[in-house]
């Protein structure tokens, strides 16, 4: 946002999603698994603000319909849940990692086509690191991934492991370069 925008009190819109780089994950996960010894979990999620409007609800139910339709081929299971912060999670379960990426993309594409792309917070892919959870979060507004590794204890994160992951996989995934934007997401229901 430029200075002129600030001077005039901002534009009438949020930043639109950056060009979609989500699909980088559908190849990078192989490196994450083989190179880093992580194992992907058969689950992924996309988080957004559910607007209380008829239009938005319609788009959402159409999207779920679409996903259930394609589930016959892919076997992807779809659930949704609201978290304590008022955000909606659509949780996808599938043993095929590529299908998870595709299904997440279906949801974001549908929301964007309806004009609600700016409501999407992020997509989350879950991995396991010797039994401990590791997440890769895709920020739609930035078009970039960053790692989130919760540590034992109340709201602790393992920054060391996160930096290691960036060093190891940063060349292959479009990475968020500003670490102050590596926002945590607590209580990820994946």
């Amino acid at each position: 946002m430029g200075f002129l925008d600030a001077l005039l009190g901002g534009r009438g819109k949020l930043k639109a999603p950056a060009p979609d780089r989500l699909f980088a994950m559908s190849t990078a996960y192989v490196t994450i698994e083989t190179g880093l010894g992580l194992k992907h979990k058969p689950v992924a999620g996309i988080v957004f603000q559910p607007l209380a409007t008829a239009d938005f609800k319609q788009i959402l139910s159409d999207t779920e319909e679409l996903l259930r339709g394609s589930a016959a081929d892919t076997g992807t299971k779809v659930e949704s849940a609201d978290d304590q912060y008022g955000y909606r999670w659509i949780i996808l379960r599938d043993d095929e990692f590529e299908d998870l990426v595709v299904s997440v993309n279906v949801i974001s594409t549908q929301l964007e086509a309806g004009g609600y792309g700016d409501r999407i917070l992020c997509a989350v892919f879950a991995f396991e690191d010797e039994g401990r959870p590791v997440y890769f979060i895709y920020n739609y507004k930035r078009g970039a991934f960053y790692p989130f590794v919760p540590a034992p204890g109340e709201k602790q994160r393992n920054n060391e492991r996160e930096f290691q992951l960036k060093a190891a996989i940063g060349g292959e995934l479009p990475f968020e370069q500003e670490i102050e934007r590596w926002f945590p997401l607590w209580e990820i229901p994946l």
Binding site: F3, G9, L14, Q49, K141, E154
Partner: protein, 304 residues
């Protein structure tokens, strides 16, 4: 390509009024500077001194404000809910995360401080955190984040720069008596400067208040934009303004100097003319938010 539909239309009326106010301020200040320099030497040094003071204010204001409120920065461990809420709002607003502070006072209020997006501090009182529902608090925090995003502290400080000079000349003008250069034309120049300063002070006072009100409307819009829930902010404003009148006087007085960046001014008096208010009246803010909610609820325009 997805069509880029905006949830809310741009309020070009508000932007036009803001631009006009800024234009008037600029015009006023340009004339003022011309008069100051026509009046002679000595003034230049004073302008420099005040520039330094303003700069200091810009860099220290956040610390001063926090100290004045007794607010303390809180870590994610101390206020996990507040941090998590702001983190999500920051992703939505595409902002770096500000510092988060909490002031331990029953008065329900929140404010944003800091000269830039990177050095911003957002503060909530324990009063507002107790008084509001989570989604209402979220709307208030989004309002404060919009102040950060719109760089309101910077803009109001810049806008008030010459108003500060004018005020100082008006107040201390008599002590600067001999500045006018020659003793022959010194006296009339001094009177011209004093009169001009007084006028600039009065006019800029009202323009600044108008500008501040427009920034509030813009922050309300920004909150609606970030959360997608204009009515959540409306209900928060109603709830806060109701609580405000029940709070003991000493808290109101203690916080008096911080009004400019509070979400609701501490003295909500119906009798005070809008012209004198740095926040728009509650009814007008509610009406603006209701308009946004109506835009949100309206069926989407046919696909373009």
């Amino acid at each position: 390509m997805a069509r880029s539909r905006t949830t809310f239309t741009r309020d070009s009326g508000l932007q036009a009024r803001m631009l006009f106010t800024l234009f008037l301020l600029g015009l006023l200040y340009a004339a003022f500077v011309a008069i100051l320099f026509a009046a002679g030497a000595g003034v230049g040094i004073m302008v420099l001194v005040i520039a330094a003071l303003s700069l200091a204010q810009l860099f220290l204001s956040d610390k001063l404000a926090l100290a004045a409120m007794g607010a303390k920065e809180v870590s994610p461990e101390q206020a996990p809910g507040l941090h998590a809420m702001l983190e999500r709002l920051c992703i939505q607003a595409d902002l770096p995360k500000p510092k988060i502070a909490v002031a331990d006072t029953p008065m329900p209020n929140a404010f944003a401080m800091g000269r830039s997006q990177k050095s911003a501090v957002v503060c909530a009182t324990t009063g507002i955190m107790n008084a509001l529902q989570p989604h209402e608090l979220e709307a208030v925090m989004a309002h404060e984040l919009t102040h950060v995003k719109n760089r309101d502290v910077m803009i109001m400080t810049l806008a008030s720069f010459f108003a500060t000079i004018a005020a100082m000349i008006t107040q201390f003008g008599f002590f600067f008596g001999g500045w006018g250069g020659d003793s022959d034309d010194g006296a009339p120049a001094f009177i011209v400067v004093l009169l001009a300063s007084f006028l600039v002070y009065i006019i800029s006072f009202f323009l600044m208040l108008a500008l501040s009100r427009y920034r509030e409307y813009a922050a309300d819009r920004g909150s609606a934009l970030i959360t997608g829930r204009p009515s959540a902010l409306a209900s928060a404003l109603v709830r806060i303004s109701g609580e405000m009148q029940r709070v003991p006087d000493q808290d109101l007085r203690a916080a008096g100097k911080m009004n400019a960046f509070f979400i609701v001014p501490t003295s909500v008096k119906e009798s005070v003319a809008t012209l004198f208010m740095d926040h728009p009246p509650l009814e007008k803010r509610l009406a603006a938010l209701q308009k946004l909610e109506a835009q949100l609820q309206a069926p989407a325009p046919a696909a373009a």
